[in-house]
């Protein structure tokens, strides 16, 4: 998109759409000219006949064929008659009909599909009749009925009646492949799309064909045999003859590509008929990849989401989180009206009471005015906003509250990171894109666990790795199964030493680091750095030096959907929209002119931590809080204290820890109930329409009303108004903020019984946006504490023994998983069941924690010893 049509007065819109690359004309010698049904066509060499037919609008029926999977030729549904020039140059008919999904077009070939060849038509009718002999006639109760390729193609390319009067093959139904994925084997046509997906795309081949002949079926393999022990799903599954539970972050894709109703999801099974659904395109709100999705709803209720088709971003795949985690938007704890807290007679807080918007705005404005008079107001908008909403928060803070105390980073952060974002990220949209990553000969991941933190990016990387076009390297404390599936090279770095390792990547070094330097020096190499590097002093400075040294391109891949948009919209204390530094007077004038105000605050504001601390100390009298969970902040306890003390205006979708402490709660719309634009980590705008009709207001409209109550005109009362202003604002061609130059800190000193903490979020964990999805939760990985064999031995622990990780704030006890990683490091999932690192330990990656064998474990051992 352009957010709206480009304004001729501005040089560049704020977040311009990616240019549409026209299809390159075929080069001489690369084109193959042949005919299908008498229509001549030219396609690139290597094109399959079935693809060429699609381009001509000729549909050849198919089941096993999928454009993103390697050809299989298994179902034989796409048979066509083929004539090809022989050695003598004469056209000769191939003796057998050919599978068009495996046949590459060759010059002069003549293909006759079912439309022009009786032989092809008969062959297709024959195959579909055979497919149906063992397929149950349960379409009226099957989830796929109405959108089923088998049903459709049986009608379009099959016999009206079956000649099969014999005994069908049956199976007990269904197998719970996982808590989410169910398999009705009798419906399966054995096209193997699911097994090919799990092997070729996701790389977690947990299911495969078993048995043979008509008894052939999809089943699960013993994970111990495949070496996958240790990452088992939380939920239980019915097991097949030999199997273990199916576990994958991408398993939902198999349901979508199943051409029959054999694979279904527990979340959607028997919930609706496809022809009752209204489909609206959408963008997934769970990560910064901006995956295209399709939202299917019926009478105002979202029933399912499917992967959209976007070749340049997510192709046709999404993570299970993107697909299944949507019920949070309609959870029972949705806030439906504004709420204002009563005050008790003694001045203490009372209860939240429903109020009108006017009452709520007035109450909020009164509290904020009071705070502005006595110190000021801090704004914590959170990292999940659309670009429009993020922009409104920034403008609200600066125009209505007159402060730069606004920071969208609801996670560990640093000033160095803010400088990095202002210097290298803001205003450089589409600098590095998915296409650049997939074309890169080498990709270095720094503080980024692709599968857990950016699922689609993981798939795009893996696609290239499998094709042997890309090599992946990772600076991390341990090689996860995700990195192994990327055939990745681990540049091991204990938490806190990442900067040191990055600085060690120099040409000529004899070890892995020298090798990495060589790989990154190759033309097109890319460095992808995650948000977690903010926890490493000197980390971003070192990454910038590395990019400078090797010439590799650099991109920042945050976890949340709103992070990049927030940077572009200026949700940083030192940054105005479009990468304009707060400290640059020209930038301020620029912005003030667009905003129609005399001036914008000139002093850089407080960061998230500083805002929280100031509110705790009473230096800030009020907080305006968006979608922030205190448990995500670096010090949740401090944040809770701050929320207790300050006057809090909360803009929330659902009741939360913030609304519990808020003085005024203003309900806002979840993504499905508003139009907006997410910005991907690439800086690609991903606009989406409103799917459901709703009375809920987007944040920018609420902020517009609140500003109005404060006597300021935000001018953001409609989406069109926001877009008009964003376009008017355009980009910034002035000076960028200076690069950070922070010295790497000393590695943390680890004493006896201590370890350095490494941590990151699992894709599926206790996040609030996964609420209400028990089937999805069952596919999350069981939380374990990972330690090295050396560390385990030092603690007298064996694999599976219980490890207690503690700080003064608390203790987390998990089963230990012994893996290959540096000694004196312990890894915990950040926010999984039984492991809420920030909340429990008040610690984060790089902190020193105490480790010990858990006491229960010791007694258990003693008892065993006595027995």
């Amino acid at each position: 998109m352009t957010i709206t049509s480009p304004d001729p007065k501005t040089a560049t819109p704020l977040v311009p759409a990616a240019p549409v690359v026209p299809e390159a004309p075929l080069e001489e010698g690369q084109a193959v000219t042949f005919t299908i049904d008498g229509i001549e066509t030219s396609v690139p060499k290597g094109t399959l006949v079935i693809r060429a037919a699609e381009r001509l609008g000729i549909q050849i029926p198919r089941f096993c064929d999928h454009p993103l999977l390697a050809p299989a030729g298994a179902c034989r549904q796409c048979l066509v008659e083929v004539w090809a020039p022989g050695r003598d140059g004469n056209l000769a008919k191939m003796p057998k009909p050919q599978a068009s999904c495996t046949l590459e077009a060759t010059p002069g070939m003549q293909v006759k599909t079912q439309h022009t060849s009786a032989e092809a038509d008969k062959a297709q009718h024959g195959v579909i009749e055979l497919l149906l002999i063992n397929h149950p006639l349960d379409c009226p109760v099957c989830d796929k009925g109405g959108e089923c390729p088998l049903q459709n193609q049986a009608m379009s390319n099959g016999r009206a009646t079956s000649r099969f009067v014999d005994v069908k093959r049956t199976f007990p139904k269904p197998i719970s492949v996982s808590t989410q994925i169910l398999l009705d084997r009798e419906r399966c046509v054995l096209c193997q799309r699911c097994t090919r997906f799990s092997e070729e795309i996701a790389g977690d081949a947990w299911i495969d064909l078993q048995k043979r002949g008509a008894q052939q079926q999809i089943g699960t393999f013993d994970t111990d045999v495949l070496g996958f022990a240790g990452e088992t799903p939380v939920g239980a599954s019915t097991l097949d003859t030999s199997g273990k539970p199916f576990s994958s972050y991408f398993s939902g894709n198999t349901v979508q590509i199943c051409p029959v109703g054999a694979l279904t999801s527990a979340a959607y099974r028997f919930r609706s008929r496809p022809f009752d659904l209204v489909s609206t395109p959408g963008i997934a709100e769970h990560d910064s990849n901006g995956s295209a999705i399709r939202v299917d709803h019926r009478r105002g209720v979202v029933l399912r989401r499917l992967a959209g088709d976007d070749p340049v971003v997510n192709q046709e795949w999404v993570t299970d989180k993107d697909r299944f985690a949507f019920r949070w938007q309609s959870a029972p704890d949705r806030i439906t009206t504004p709420l204002v807290r009563t005050r008790n007679a003694d001045g203490t807080r009372g209860e939240l009471q429903p109020a009108s918007w006017v009452e709520a705005f007035d109450a909020a404005a009164a509290g904020l005015r009071e705070a502005m008079a006595s110190g000021g107001v801090g704004v914590l908008p959170g990292g999940r906003l659309t670009l429009e909403d993020a922009y409104a928060y920034g403008k609200f803070a600066r125009v209505a509250l007159g402060t730069n105390d606004v920071d969208g980073r609801a996670r560990p952060h640093s000033d160095e990171e803010a400088s990095f974002l202002a210097h290298r990220v803001a205003g450089r949209t589409l600098d590095v894109t998915f296409s650049d990553v997939t074309a890169a000969p080498a990709v270095l991941l720094v503080a980024l666990e692709a599968e857990e933190e950016a699922g689609v990016l993981f798939l795009r990387l893996r696609e290239q790795v499998v094709a042997r076009r890309t090599r992946v390297l990772s600076v991390a404390p341990l090689a996860t199964r995700g990195l192994e599936r990327l055939s990745g090279t681990l540049l091991a770095a204990a938490p806190g030493t990442e900067a040191e390792v990055l600085d060690g990547i120099v040409e000529g070094a004899s070890d892995l680091l020298g090798d990495a330097a060589g790989a990154l020096a190759a033309d097109g190499a890319v460095i992808l750095v995650g948000e977690r590097l903010a926890g490493v002093p000197g980390g971003f400075s070192a990454v910038l030096r590395l990019a400078e040294r090797t010439g590799a391109r650099l991109a920042w891949v945050p976890r949340r959907a709103g992070e990049r948009g927030a940077v572009e919209a200026g949700l940083l204390p030192s940054l105005l929209p479009g990468g304009r530094p707060v400290t640059d007077s020209g930038a301020r004038v620029d912005i003030a002119a667009v905003w129609g105000v005399e001036h914008v605050p000139a002093e850089a504001g407080r960061s998230t931590s500083q805002i929280v601390a100031a509110a705790r100390d009473g230096r800030l009298g009020a907080l305006v809080v968006g979608g922030v969970d205190p448990a995500d902040l670096p010090d949740p306890a401090l944040a809770r204290d701050a929320l207790e003390r300050a006057f809090v205006v909360s803009l929330e979708v659902r009741a939360s820890e913030v609304t519990e402490r808020a003085d005024v709660v203003l309900p806002v719309a979840p993504p499905v109930e508003k139009p907006g634009t997410f910005v991907t980590w690439e800086g690609r705008p991903r606009p989406f329409p409103q799917a459901l009709t709703s009375h809920a207001l987007p944040d920018h409209r609420v902020l517009h009303g609140l500003a109005d109550a404060l006597g300021a005109d935000l001018g953001l009362g409609s989406l069109a108004a926001v877009h008009a202003e964003l376009d008017q604002l355009g980009g910034w061609d002035g000076a960028r903020a200076a690069a950070p130059a922070v010295e790497a800190g000393d590695p943390p000193a680890v004493g006896a019984g201590e370890a350095v903490l490494a941590t990151w979020h699992q894709l599926l964990d206790d996040g609030r946006l996964q609420d209400g999805e028990p089937y999805l939760a069952g596919t999350a990985k069981v939380a374990t504490a990972r330690i090295s064999a050396g560390t385990a031995a030092g603690l007298g622990l064996v694999d599976g023994g219980r490890l207690a990780v503690s700080t003064d704030a608390g203790t987390i006890t998990l089963p230990a998983q012994v893996v290959d990683m540096p000694d004196h490091v312990v890894w915990l999932p950040t926010a999984s069941a039984g492991s809420h690192v920030r909340d429990t330990l008040h610690a984060d990656g790089g902190s020193v924690v105490r480790v010990a064998a858990a006491r229960e474990d010791v007694t258990g051992t003693d008892e065993e010893a006595r027995a």
Binding site: P71, A72, G73, A74, C75, R76, Q77, L79, P95, K96, P97, T102, K122, A123, G126, V127, E129, L130, L131, I133, N134, R163, F164, D166, V167, R169, V189, L190, D208, L209, K211, R212, G213, A214, Q215, Q216
Partner: protein, 444 residues
């Protein structure tokens, strides 16, 4: 002139302990290898090309030409894989050969490997024949001990490792690409071609896959020369081959004869159809080749003539059935086999054999319908040429050819059970109590 037997591979089978290296050497074994190692590798390939040796596994592809398809040596591994997964109903030539004279195969492997410059050869042997597997293992061990395998073979500087691998019992693994997948430890299902094994076979490296008998014929060619080999057989189907006679024949067994011999001649050698009975139908090359009848007794058993008569030479597995046998019953058993052994990869073979078997069982019980014969023929038409590999095609041959020659028996299947028309005990070579009716209908 009556054709005579030409025992080459089977010449020493009656020697005491014929399977030992000692016996093989005493009969002149390993002269071929010594000679080959003294030749240029390309010359060995040329010699085999000139001999006209065609693949003995059934398809009859010229062996030397197959070797010639390998891309130029790039110094990286290339492999010879011997297909010893003999599983076709009726086919029983490779297993006796490996039982009686495994060194023949080992010498052939060594010469072939030398010719294609392969340093690691594999023999994929059918897993059920444990005794053959043991003999092969012992034979390889003996060959290593005598320096015919291993490093610096016979002082030539040429190295060769040989691995004998036992399959797990799947007919599909006789298909060369499924065999390669199975050998790699994967599920045995045919691969998409291209790439052909010559370009990307075992472990995605150039690979020659040859039948046991083809490889075992190579030492003889190297010793005797291409012209000696071409003296036998016909112009386009040169050489000697094992003809396996089984069924209602007086002296069943292996008859090694020049290609082009007729069944009439072979039956004469074998003492004819069992006494008091007449030939009814027979397979020229295993159950997946269309059946022949008495009218084909004089068809020369070479690739071209059998093809021209409407069948395939296949593996020269001559199963002889006399007039006591119900064609419907025989065909049903074959289709049960194909149904059981279909790998499941493609729809026509997987579902088609499943359906064919049900229709045939119905006809065998005398409960067929008037549409069933047309249904069978149409199903075969929907399988033939539509399946992923040749096994699906093979499954249709017995049905279509049987209906072609014995349609009336299928028609009788609409009212009379086959075991009433043809009591099974009359076909038996010894007395037994046949299972009737429902008992066999439930078999699967």
């Amino acid at each position: 002139m009556a054709t005579t037997l030409t025992p080459v591979l089977s010449a020493g089978w009656d020697a005491p302990r014929a399977w030992t290296l000692q016996a093989y050497e005493a009969a002149g074994g390993y002269r071929g290898l010594r000679r080959a190692l003294g030749m240029q590798q390309a010359d060995v390939v040329t010699m085999v090309k000139d001999s006209g040796l065609r693949g003995r596994g059934g398809a009859g592809f010229p062996t030397g030409m197959k070797w010639g398809f390998l891309p130029p040596d790039d110094g990286k591994p290339r492999y010879l894989v011997v297909n010893a997964d003999e599983s076709e109903p009726g086919t029983c030539k490779d297993i006796p050969l490996m039982m009686a004279s495994p060194q023949h195969l080992i010498e052939g492997v060594a010469i072939t490997s030398y010719a294609i410059n392969c340093h690691h050869a594999f023999i994929y042997v059918r897993g059920e024949v444990v005794h053959v597997y043991r003999r092969l293992l012992k034979a390889v061990e003996e060959a290593y001990a005598k320096g015919y395998l291993g490093t610096n073979i016979l002082g030539s500087g040429y190295d060769l490792e040989v691995t004998v691998h036992a399959g797990a019992g799947a007919y599909i693994c006789g298909e060369e690409t499924a065999l390669l997948d199975s050998l790699e430890g994967l599920r045995g299902q045919p691969r998409l071609k291209p790439p052909f094994p010559a370009v990307a076979g075992l472990y995605a490296r150039p690979t020659v896959v040859n039948n046991v008998e083809s490889v075992a014929s190579v030492p003889g060619i190297v010793v005797g020369g291409a012209d000696w080999f071409k003296q036998m057989g016909t112009e386009r189907s040169a050489g000697h081959g094992l003809f396996s006679l089984s069924g209602h024949v007086t002296r069943p067994g292996q008859y090694e004869a020049p290609l082009g011999i007729t069944l009439r001649e072979l039956l004469e050698m074998a003492g004819g159809v069992r006494e008091g009975h007449q030939l009814k139908f027979w397979t020229p090359g295993g159950s997946s080749t269309p059946i022949f009848t008495a009218e084909h007794l004089d068809v020369p058993l070479d690739y071209e003539s059998v093809g021209a008569a409407g069948s395939m030479l296949g593996t020269r597995a001559l199963q002889i059935f006399d007039e006591t046998v119900s064609v419907v019953r025989a065909v049903t058993r074959w289709i049960e086999f194909y149904k059981h052994e279909s790998c499941g990869k493609c729809t026509p073979c997987r579902e088609g054999t499943y359906w064919l078997a049900q229709v045939l069982r119905r006809l065998e019980r005398g409960q067929g319908t008037s549409e069933d014969i047309d249904l069978l023929l149409d199903l075969c038409d929907n399988i033939l040429g539509r399946a992923f590999c040749a096994l699906g095609d093979g499954a249709t041959s017995p049905v279509t050819s049987a209906i072609q020659y014995f349609r009336d028996e299928f028609e009788a299947g609409t009212h009379t059970p086959a075991d009433v028309l043809f009591p099974p005990e009359r076909s038996s070579l010894f007395s037994y109590t046949p299972r009737h009716g429902a008992a066999l209908a439930g078999a699967h």
